[in-house]
Symmetry: C2
């Protein structure tokens, strides 16, 4: 950069390249388009905002929302991006980003409609950014929502080197009388656990500190506890997206409304997230021996050491999502979930008490 006073300065000198931005749009457009359904209004690409028709004028597709409640979520993936950067594989954190948002969204019974991303970064490197957005696009396809738009901000004075931050926004809709809010949960309801795929996107501050700093492991290490997986691969496992499996169950029991509450197990773990969806005076007695936490959690607990309660407060411990259902439908719902590829089991029962969970 020439800083002599006679040389006119441009925005590119100052670190922002508008042409590279245009190249980027061409790279990411197909990644967005593959997530579209007929409700996305495509001829507005490049305009101010993304456009989505709530009802598509076709009987087959019409969702018949008479009293639609819009549900909005925003979330990021935390320092999991640092693991992605350290391993050089940035094409899956976008899956995590979508997962963190749509798994929240479906807790209310909402249908995910669309997603918007925000990438904060120092420099625009189109191929690398396309890798990130490939993950987001893949996640949107898995969740059944459209990648409607996004924003990439170049801020070389905030972000260092290759660092970036990822935030996302998901919008969903639910018919008012089908909104699931835990209000009808009652004593005796069955609590179903859906298995997680490792850490998902929470607790990376602690996990990285323990494994990489304190225990001095490298991302390429293959500790026996991980049964052949490297630390990097384990830490990068994408957050499981429960949206389609959950929507499938809800679709099957549309009238009966047997699903009474759902919780996405994120920061706060089971102990933080299950009570959020329970009415006052109720709690869940968790059967501790109904599952064993996957090895990554044992590894972190041992290397910290991190005590049991803290582990439960920070990590999902193998349970990524919880559904609270009428007991007589629990078996059928679990069969549905399994057919959809989910691993699930009865985690416990709803009882009087709380707000803390009970352990049995």
């Amino acid at each position: 950069m020439d800083t002599s006073p006679a040389s006119p300065m441009t925005y590119k000198d100052a670190g922002v390249d508008i042409q590279a931005g245009d190249a980027m749009v061409d790279l990411i457009r197909p990644l967005a388009v593959r997530t579209y359904d007929p409700r996305v209004i495509v001829d507005h690409f490049g305009g101010f905002g993304g456009f989505f028709s709530l009802d598509f004028p076709d009987k087959l597709l019409k969702k018949n929302y008479r009293d639609p409640i819009l549900v909005g979520c925003s979330d990021g993936v935390g320092t999991k991006v640092l693991v992605a950067l350290a391993t050089g594989r940035v094409n899956t954190v976008g899956i995590d980003l979508v997962a963190m948002n749509v798994n929240d969204l479906v807790c209310s019974g909402a249908e995910p409609l669309f997603f918007l991303d925000y990438i904060g970064t120092a420099r625009l490197d189109p191929p690398r950014k396309a890798e990130i957005i490939k993950g987001i696009s893949y996640g949107c396809v898995q969740a059944g929502c459209a990648l409607l738009g996004g924003e990439t901000a170049e801020m070389p004075d905030i972000y260092r080197g290759e660092d970036f931050d990822l935030a996302g926004f998901a919008l969903g809709v639910v018919e008012r009388r089908r909104l699931i809010d835990g209000r009808r949960v009652e004593v005796g309801d069955t609590v179903i656990a859906l298995a997680s795929d490792g850490l998902h996107s929470n607790g990376y501050g602690l996990a990285r500190r323990v494994l990489l700093d304190k225990a001095g492991m490298s991302l390429d290490d293959c500790p026996p506890e991980l049964e052949g997986r490297t630390v990097g691969a384990e830490l990068l496992r994408p957050t499981r997206i429960y949206a389609k499996a959950v929507r499938s169950v809800l679709g099957r029991y549309r009238v009966k409304r047997v699903v009474k509450a759902m919780a996405h197990i994120t920061g706060g773990g089971l102990v933080g997230n299950i009570p959020r969806v329970l009415p006052a005076g109720l709690t869940v007695r968790v059967k501790r021996d109904s599952w064993s936490a996957p090895p990554i959690f044992g590894l972190i607990a041992a290397k910290g050491p991190v005590d049991d309660l803290e582990m439960l407060r920070v990590f999902n411990m193998g349970v990524g999502f919880v559904m609270i259902v009428a007991p007589s439908f629990a078996r059928a719902i679990m069969n549905d979930l399994r057919r959809r590829g989910e691993r699930c089991w009865v985690l416990g029962k709803v009882r009087k008490g709380g707000p803390e969970l009970e352990w049995a």
Copy 2:
């Protein structure tokens, strides 16, 4: 932090404080609540996501969307946050954040419904974060949308010291047949400029480099060009929110549809943003002498030096928003805008040509 192996590690040791997060919720709740309208479903605060009823079951409030198109926008405020940090005044960048999103939203004629924020930061400092969210809340009130939720991510390994990044997501709705997309723009249409309040939220990379680094000015300097304002105060002026003024005009001409296109003048300036909303084969002849750019732009151009074309490509140059309207209604619309407190003038006319703007 005790790192001896015998001392169990906690998430707080690793830099994340869940209790402080709860204190934060108490601080920000009233800031969100003051933005609510009856369509916000309040008893879900703390659940997974924010809830907004598209139609409120009251005749007076019912918006009667028969074929609603949802419009989603996401944007950040760029390195304007660094100016806020340097001056210690972080309670206005939230206004910028809302402005960047809702000004985009209203370009399509959409009614802003709600807003969600994302703050990426190193540490959770509740009073400071409350200051940021005060700005967001104030912006939402100005825009007439609800602050439905948000996420604050603590990432001490990505953000340095007090640094933070701000991203936002706005959702709006527009009746399909009232969607404004520039399609009906024709030769002879009048282009109305709405005055900006300084730099708004674009070009800060270049502005900071020129004024602070190259010209060596400090944020406390009062150069004569700024007529008594400090550099810091000028750089921090909040982005003007045009939402209510624009919605007021649209409400008045609901049936006649005299507003044919609108553009929010952001990165890319007039030359980048006006062509985005014009049909192929049309351009705007801009009357260069219809306004003079406010002094901050002249100061940057002189201190860079930055040439005219680059200034026009990077900064709004005093025009924050543009409306393209049927010529016979231009005067009445400008009167409406002035009654709403906007400064506006005829910027030019639509002509055959393009895609570049013409200058007269």
